[in-house]
Each structure stands twice: as C-alpha cells, then as structure tokens.
C-alpha cells in the first residue's frame, strides 16, 4: 500500500463541503482499490465496474454523514463492497475472481531459467485454481488480505464483518485452502513454490 499523502483529509473536507473537483481527485486516487475490491466481491469485471462507479456516486451523497477525521478508505470500501454484494446477490454469479496469472513475471529473486519460470507460473495457476474451489467467503477474505493488501479494518469494511472476526476468518480460510491443496496433490504443494522455505 502506498503511504497516504498528507492532504487526504483536506480533500475529504473539501468534498464534504460540496467541491466536486476535490472529490474527483479522491476518486482517481482510490479507483484502483475500489474497482479491485469490487472485482473480488462481485466476481465479474462488468459488475465490479458498475458497483465501483455506483459506490463512488453514493459515497458523494453520503459524505455529509462521513465523520470528519476518520479514515476514508474503510468508509469508502464499505459502500463499494455493499454495492458489489448487491450485484452478486441479484445478478449472474461468476465463480472465479476474474483474475489471471501473468505469463512472464519473474518470481523476484534470481532470474529463473525458462523452465523454472514456466513451472512457477503453472504453480501459481494451481494455487489460484485451488482458491477457486473455496467458498465465496473464504476466497474473499484471502483475496482481501493477499491480493488487495487491505488492513484489518479495511478487510472488515469490505467483507461486512466485525474487525475482531477478520483474523479468525482468514485463518479458517487458509486452513481450507491448505486442505484443497493437499487434495490436489504434491505437484501443487506450497513447499515447491518459488521462494518456498526448505
């Protein structure tokens, strides 16, 4: 996550006062976060776009009720995630996260041989596929933590749960992911993944 520029509170305050240009700056700053969070919750990118846009519009109208000085991100995520959930509830259900693994990304450490790179890509695909076999809530909590890198408060906002329950939800979801991986067999075992501790 990027450090928060100092003027976020000022922007929020100006937007609260009715300054649509200040709000546009805020939207630009958080549109990636909002859209990706909506992707994770709604499943499909069309629904996510719709949800994120609607969320930003609703947030504008709700700004008068925003408590000055409180963090903006969780507040925004609550509204966007709620829109995304409504679309998932009523619309076509998509059971993947609409995400894909990039082909050619090096894993980070030493430059891998082409064979190792291909293997790493395949293993990432297997891990993503294993996540796809989890229930909706498990998938979402893992994605919020690892793919969106949300804080606990932000995860609670996105998932619509109490902050105190985030940790245990994540831990249960990881247990189930581990079980799915074990079922998939040794080829997908996390110890063989790049960077795995030996």
């Amino acid at each position: 996550m990027e450090g928060r520029p100092l003027d976020e509170q000022e922007l929020v305050e100006q937007a609260r006062g009715g300054d649509a240009r200040a709000y546009e700056v805020l939207v630009r700053r958080y549109q990636d976060l909002a859209f990706r969070t909506a992707c994770v919750i709604a499943g499909g990118s069309a629904d996510a776009e719709d949800a994120a846009q609607e969320g930003f519009v609703k947030a504008w109208y709700a700004l008068p009720r925003f408590r000055a000085g409180s963090p903006f991100r969780p507040w925004l995520l609550t509204i966007v995630a709620n829109e995304a959930r409504n679309r998932r509830r009523s619309g076509r259900r998509q059971d993947d996260l609409a995400l894909r693994v990039a082909e050619d990304r090096p894993s980070g450490d030493a430059a891998p041989s082409p064979e190792a790179a291909a293997l790493a890509t395949e293993q990432r695909r297997l891990l993503l596929a294993a996540m796809g076999r989890l229930g909706e809530h498990d998938r979402q909590v893992i994605a919020c933590r690892y793919f969106l890198e949300l804080s606990e408060a932000e995860m609670a906002a996105a998932l619509g749960c109490r902050p105190g329950t985030v940790k245990s939800r994540l831990s249960r979801a990881l247990d189930r992911l581990r079980a799915v991986l074990a079922e998939q067999g040794a080829a997908a075992a996390p110890t063989t993944l790049p960077g795995g501790d030996r």
């Binding site: 846009q53 008068p64 709620n82 609409a98 693994v101």
Partner: protein, 273 residues
C-alpha cells in the same frame, strides 16, 4: 505446521505479485460526469457563496430546500404538504414528508382486514414471477413467510410488492387493521438521484442498514414521495400509521412499517435477503 503456514503465506504473496486484475476503468471521469448531470450535486460554487458559513451537512440541507419547495408545489393539492417543509436532506431515492394530517385515503380497508388497498393478492412465488427485481424477505423471528402478499405491476415501473404479516406476539397490531408488519419493495431510481426527504424536525433519524442510508420515522402518520425507476415523482402514504424504516438495498427501495422499536425494525431490515 508453522513452516507450512509460512509457505502458504509466501506462495499467496508470490501469486499476488503476478496476478492481473482486469484494467481499472476511468471511474473518476464517469463519476464526475454523473455528478455534473445532477443539478443538486453540481452546486458547489454557488453553495459556497451563500451557504459558506454552514457545515457541509447543513449546506446540503439548505441547498436541497429549493428543490423541496418545488416538490411541495407539485404536491400542493395534498392537505399534508402545507406545513411540511422544515428541512430537507439530499439522499438517494426517496422524498418523505412528515407532519400535517394524513390524507383521508389512508388505511383503506376494502376487503379482508389484511387488505390495505395494496393491489392484487398473490402468493410469494407469484409475486416473484411478476416483478423485475428479487423479492427479499426477513430471515428472523419466523418472518420468512408473509401472511399476505400483494403485487402491483403498473405503478411504479418494474412493479411493487407488499408483504404483510398478521399481528402476533412481538408484532402488535396497528391501530387500523389486523396487520402487524408491512414491508414494501420497489425499484427506486436506477441512476442515483439526490433523493429527497422533507421532514418536520425531530421525527426522523438517519441510520444505516448494511452501510446504506436509512431513515427512521416515529410518531404520527406521514406520507412520502419518491422517484420511481422512470424518474416520476410519486406520492404515497404509510398504511399502518406506526413507525417506519425506509432504506435502500442496491437499486431497491424498501419500507418497513409497524409498531416496532427502532432496534426491532433494524434487526428485521438487516435480515432481509
């Protein structure tokens, strides 16, 4: 075990680094364009000048008043509107007026005593077939099956469903009928609008249901206006003359009426799915 935990943690972080989300659309432009189209939202410069001394909240309230007065003019034929405007807040989809006597047509009881003049009586399944939105029901307190269901397909566009529960322990009868709880669902405006609320101060509270705005009206009977999915301003009165909770769920507008406490109403509202 702890090594495996670490490994999965690393593997997920590694996956995250090579994951591709769909490209983010230009939401800032889209959102700004939508706000620009809304005459009430696009008022910052003027709002500054003549409302500069007020907080954002009050500024919105006062800015909305002009629109409120217009709405009242439209509704001037109704007896309840005359003294109704005390304040107005910009919120999505609903206009509400409190105060003044309820219109004389309130609580018509033409048929059975659960018939509140609500349209055609059907089964829940039938109602679900006939409207264009998913009909939600409470999942608490044995309220999963309404005692009566009414559907109206004509007004507003997209249809409207009224769910009625007979009075029972925990659901006191309203003063007029045997009904203890009425929930109405219809599609509100699909593009967000500055939704209008006109209320006499002191009888309305602003709440949230699932993170979306909600309004709690207590005390005397009221009627309200809303914008339907075609953008038409419509007028409605409450039926049970009890307390009322109105909230949004996505594009749905929901209204819950009964002699319930705020906490009971919120519990029911939050259980709707």
């Amino acid at each position: 075990m702890s090594r495996r935990e670490l490994d999965l943690d690393r593997a997920l972080a590694d996956l995250a680094a090579s994951l591709e989300f769909p490209p983010t659309p230009d939401l800032a432009a889209a959102v700004t364009a939508r706000l620009d189209q809304d005459p009430v939202a696009a008022r910052p410069a003027r709002g500054r000048r003549w409302l500069g001394g007020l907080s954002g909240w009050r500024r919105l309230a006062v800015a909305g008043l002009a629109v409120a007065l217009l709405a009242v003019a439209v509704l001037a034929a109704s007896p309840g509107t005359r003294e109704a405007v005390a304040r107005r807040l910009g919120l999505r989809g609903i206009g509400v007026e409190l105060g003044g006597p309820p219109p004389s047509t309130a609580t018509t009881t033409s048929g059975g005593r659960l018939d509140l003049g609500l349209g055609e009586r059907v089964t829940l399944e039938e109602a679900r077939r006939r409207v264009s939105f998913p009909v939600l029901v409470p999942h608490t307190g044995g309220l999963e099956r309404p005692d009566a269901v009414f559907v109206s397909e004509v007004v507003p566009p997209g249809g409207r469903v009224d769910l009625v529960w007979r009075a029972r322990p925990g659901l006191p009868a309203s003063g007029f009928t045997d009904a203890g709880l009425l929930i109405t669902e219809f599609r509100g405006q699909t593009t967000p609008e500055f939704i209008k609320k006109v209320a006499v101060a002191g009888q309305v509270e602003f709440l949230e249901v699932d993170g979306e705005p909600a309004y709690w009206f207590s005390g005397e009977p009221h009627f309200f206006t809303y914008r339907d999915s075609a953008g038409t301003f419509r007028e409605e009165q409450t039926r049970l003359a009890g307390n009322t909770l109105i909230w949004q769920r996505g594009e749905l507008t929901l209204r819950l009426e009964g002699e319930l406490s705020k906490e009971e109403a919120l519990r029911i509202a939050e259980s709707m799915r």
